[in-house]
Symmetry: none
Subunit: 135 residues, 4 copies
């Protein structure tokens, strides 16, 4: 595998389904009515059921684990700011970009961002990972 | 609803099942062999399939959304350090503790930690949330 | 934990998704075409796929186990009358109300009811439970 | 379809998996630690995680909807007594038996029972159904 350089990037996109949100709610136990009660949601600021912000964190984890740096990576830390809601039917693209390379490639700092189909940032933050040896 | 004070805490516990990891993998697309390929996992440092660290982030989201501060909370940010692996069959307890209260209760800083059944910290970090109005 | 009194009540609400019905069908094996075959359903009295009545029984079980009386409760019996259909997209609220308290709080009789978003009763009945000791 | 007679019976059997319990917990929101927290369960009377009693109600619903009387049946009511715990790995057989036939076959009274692999009754009760016309 070739070495990484600053600016390298990889992505994952998915249209958020109701079943994604419902299964995620069941797995994590986060059955907040904002996610699973349409009638409740109508009375909130967001008007509709929204996805769990942390579910989108999983899209970032996907890109890091599968693509950049990929299998063998040790995920050390992640910061996440939840900047806008994601609704059922929105298409979210998670992008991971190398922004800093540690000594001997032992650690990478990654910019991690999720945008919706309109280009609006819905989650952003940074990750620190230890890439697989020899990569 | 009563006001929060520093030191207030709430928890959620779950024994991690294979189906949790597999469904989470399917929802997020994080099909890293470390999570879903037992033969691959045997050759890794961890020896067995491990849960996605970000899945445990969902347990923290659960406690924040459901209990402390509870429904109506706006989740602003979360930092996560992944400090130890979680295996199928481990029982993880997520604890959220109020560590700082902003002016007029507009924001809370929360310590967020997941431990396994042996008391070992597997995920830790902090969250900033805006509690529901009137709470 | 405080003692219960007659009239105490707790609730759970969820918008019924197609995935709820499909997963429930898979778990229980109740693959009745009324639930999973839209073309068949169009020819029935109900015109659309309907949720399993017994799935809503699970919402009642949720409220009893999680809130009233809550964890530690022993669920002794439940009667259910299925009074109206629930469609995909309906929002169902299960309400459990204490209607009778046995000697020394050893048993509680609970009214258990599910209504849809229009206030129509879809399931009703009563439960007998043994609340957790010391509650 | 032939007419029913008293004593007619039908069955469904399934070995209860951890994923059945976990998915059911997620769909219904019944995340009682008795079902999803092995460490908690060890401290209870039952010692291990148990299935939701109401999940077994779904097996009865299965037999009624799929076999006796089968598709087209209108499920009017069900009573359930939860008489013994069901553990992960137990094999449960739900049996539905016709015990009373109403005038003109408009209603049937059914005995509904679930037993485990040792023949122990875990759920029992009765159902009233309106069989499909012409059956």
């Amino acid at each position: 595998m070739t070495q990484f350089k600053e600016g390298d990037a990889a992505q994952f996109s998915k249209t958020i389904s109701e079943s994604d949100i419902y299964l995620y709610a069941g797995i994590t136990g986060d059955l907040n009515p904002a996610h699973i009660d349409e009638k409740h949601a109508e009375k909130t600021f967001f008007k509709k059921r929204i996805a769990h912000g942390m579910l989108l964190g999983g899209f970032i984890s996907n890109v890091i684990a599968m693509k950049l740096p990929g299998p063998g990576t040790i995920y050390l830390s992640q910061s996440l700011q939840f900047t806008a809601p994601v609704y059922i039917g929105d298409t979210v693209t998670a992008t991971v970009t190398v922004i800093e390379i540690g000594e001997n490639y032992k650690k990478l700092k990654l910019e991690t961002k999720c945008i919706n189909q309109d280009g609006k940032t819905v989650v952003e933050g940074t990750a620190i990972v230890s890439p697989p040896r020899g990569s």
